[in-house]
Subunit: 594 residues, 2 copies
Amino acid sequence: MRRSIATVCLSGTLEEKLEAAASAGFDEVELFEPDLIASALAPEEVRDRAGRLGLEIGLYQPFRDFEAVPEPLLRENLRRAERKFGVMERLGVDTMLVCSSVSEAAIDDDALATAQLRALAEQAAGHGIRIAYEALAWGRHVRDYDHAWRIVEAAGHPNLGTCLDSFHILSRGADPSGIRDIPGEKIFYLQLADAPQLVMDVLQWSRHYRCFPGQGGFDLAAFLGHVLATGYAGPLSLEVFNDVFRQADPRRMAVDAMRSLIVLEEATGLERLPAPTTLGGYAFVELAVATDSAAEVERLLVAMGFRHAGQHRSKPVQLWRHGGTHILVNHEDGGQPRPRIAAIAVETPEPLRSAERAERLLAPLLPRERGPGEAELSAIAAPDGTSVFFCRTDGRDAGGWLSDFLTAGPPGDTVPAEVAGIDHVALSQPFDYFDEAALFYRSVLGLELHRGDELATPDGLVRSRAARNAHDNVRFALSVPLVGSGRSELQHLALSSHDVFAAARAMRERGVPVLPIPDNYYEDLAARTSLPPETIERLRGLDILYDEAGGAEFLHFYTALVGPSLFFEVVERRGGYDAYGAVNSPVRVAAQRQ
Amino acid sequence: MRRSIATVCLSGTLEEKLEAAASAGFDEVELFEPDLIASALAPEEVRDRAGRLGLEIGLYQPFRDFEAVPEPLLRENLRRAERKFGVMERLGVDTMLVCSSVSEAAIDDDALATAQLRALAEQAAGHGIRIAYEALAWGRHVRDYDHAWRIVEAAGHPNLGTCLDSFHILSRGADPSGIRDIPGEKIFYLQLADAPQLVMDVLQWSRHYRCFPGQGGFDLAAFLGHVLATGYAGPLSLEVFNDVFRQADPRRMAVDAMRSLIVLEEATGLERLPAPTTLGGYAFVELAVATDSAAEVERLLVAMGFRHAGQHRSKPVQLWRHGGTHILVNHEDGGQPRPRIAAIAVETPEPLRSAERAERLLAPLLPRERGPGEAELSAIAAPDGTSVFFCRTDGRDAGGWLSDFLTAGPPGDTVPAEVAGIDHVALSQPFDYFDEAALFYRSVLGLELHRGDELATPDGLVRSRAARNAHDNVRFALSVPLVGSGRSELQHLALSSHDVFAAARAMRERGVPVLPIPDNYYEDLAARTSLPPETIERLRGLDILYDEAGGAEFLHFYTALVGPSLFFEVVERRGGYDAYGAVNSPVRVAAQRQ
């Protein structure tokens, strides 16, 4: 089906919006009238420019406050429409969105609305134009899609149909299965938007918080299923009003939008992609370290029980190992001076299929320099700039990345393996990319998103959201300042342990600088939990934090920062604990500021 | 009365919060428990540090989910309270806030709540501690202040009183006059917060959108009047949860908080300040111009009909004049390279009184270098960095700033005065300071705030708010990106005209680069208004924009930008038009981007 996006979704001038939509591969756009009004391009120039970009203009929107008015106002409204029809002809667009009136002048009289919309459709027909009538969730008298449809049906004019908008329907908690009663050819346009589940004025919710499908809380796959069942064959169009998206880079937002549509189409069977593979956990995490700070990072890795186990054949990359856990250290010259998580590699039985899925989901493939005989790793770039590798560590073929490393140092572990693997990777996101990043990791890697959290830190509120796979061996925690001007650049790598106490003791003995946790925390823990005093004392003695949910427990400690923004965590999950100890994050951030 | 602030209002570590509160002049703080838990300071150290700063800790808060529970949970809750009483003793704080339970374990039984709160108060009494019981607006069974008070009254324990919080009361639309029925000595604490009028889940509204008194939509003066009528003599305490304030500089936020309290105290007669004077309009606006860009600014002023009329006796400042309108051009070396509005001078009959009021409202007085015989201008710094001068242009004394300028050029105007004066000054605000700035200009200059607008621009949404005095001759329009990461650095000076067409023609003839307005704008204007075609053509011919409200009209045009972010506007108000043409701002911003 054709894919469309409303120009209001994107920032920039109309030219920039059109170019962004075209370069993300959209077939058409809905032209949001204020974007035209503010443009220096004449309608013919807009038409030509869109045409050169391979874009159709599928819809002109919105025409407001038309129907069910007293006669003199009707004449005025028809005159207004006539002028807009003229503009539409110059634009070469044949469908106009008329949204249900919010005007106090509108009369609660369906017969009047029907007659006047029929008159409008008749006038439109003279220009070869169709009218798509839509119920706004906050319309004065018409708020429900079935109400709008009854009016359209009663009008019985070939140039009058309805427009369905998932937000207006789902925000009211309406049952969308009634859509199946509408003949598909009378649905003139379909607008898709998701939104987080918020309890607030629906107009404000709509104007500020809409997001692309899969980024909110609506079941858009089910919704679209109902629409498709009618035989609807028009475009799938995104109409999203979002404070953040409206000021972000329009080219990346358009790509994000297109990705959301592909994911939705996959969920409804309209599009077939290579299915996500069953991930086998993390192959490695790669840290990028400037030469100056390499010694500090390596000292910390040694103290945590890692040993330098290999050296890349052709690149300044070291392999560090602790039991079966691998960390790569990439010595960068001239890059960012702060040590950071530069890449994440996941185990997949079919690296090429994983990469193909990612590519179909518009993930940029990263060019890789490869020496002779070295593994051909497939790597993509996540929105936050992190590289994601697809590996098959035990493979003899391209996935066998380990063979790129020459053994360094003596074989075998120097310490018992206190670390069982990588539990999760926590990445702070650039403010404008948070929803995009969550959708990216979820769709590309086949993860499941958790509900978000809000954390109060000394620097302000932070929003976080976690994603993990069904096997619970690939987990991400993404975070972003709640308000754009805030700071949050922390990243960390959480290692799992079967015995966090033993790991804490051993690491401290080897000199790991553990983040000190205030006594006040343990005093509060003693007050609000029924943990025995001796357990509290053991936790306190090792600066281990504690969380509990439904009988499951989470015990964890942090290293001090290495560089300005990177640290490690060691966690033990007991009894199927399935979160990330977010309740303790404010304490952690405050301690990091000391 | 004592002034207090909750630590949760401010960003930073507990140490930073205490210091900020003390340096803004607060007498005490409410200690928000998570701030203690995350602090490395022992309770005794917190007490000592506060004491050294001259701060009392007036309240420990909150203690949650205590009352009306089954017996085993009561025992658990009393044990928890006992531990907190121990912490409070170490802190030296004698009042604990208990907020009404939100727990599903709570039973809807006032008698049970009464008995259990009495038991808690009895236990607290053993530590010399008092319990202040507060109804949360989203409490499970107790949501109204009068309900909480009935429980407190029924308990009849000297160590049990109530805490009133303006947000919890006013957000529910409750009638606060019933507060007068509570004996003042049973009100153990008073928390004050304002909030914008939003229709949303009350918990989210409370947690994210509270603001300081005078920054929102509640009538806090009336509210406080009811509380004072009870004989309440405790502290006035600010408890504000605000996403933006929580990440802003705590020292300036504490000053903003204190200013809001002083303004509120003035409104309720608790505090007497020098009253705002009746402003007589703008004396001048001062532009700061780097030497490189001076020629461009001066060329534009000449084209707009200004002439270089004077030179400051001792500073590199030029006086430019058009009719009775004055603009100063300050040649800065080594300052910001972009031309900008650096200062605003208002006419006041009593400059010293105005300055004294500003100082009492914590406005920083600006030190001025003054040559012999020069006017002693009183100047203060607004939160956005703009200087505000208080002048009396016709005065022979210190206010007579004009005598600081030596005449330059021939006397008299070179062109007829197309400009009647300064209509308004539009200043973009740093994201974190918007509410502060609005309160500052309003309270210091005695202005009235308008309801805010939201404008969609190509760079994202912009929030704007205007303020003006009762005589309508001093107007400000403040704007800020709605989302913190957005950009908005535009500033402009709007000049008023009695004939915008004549002004536009004359200025164009003299070479003023007028911002071109797209034809699409005029096509839309023709569609949506009943302006005759010839009027539309006149507007279009001169790039004049139009707005209409209730029969009053606004006609205005803009100059092109001079430098990256400064421009001028010429406006004509007809029929008492009282806004700023915000509907046209998106068109203007898009044109500026071309």
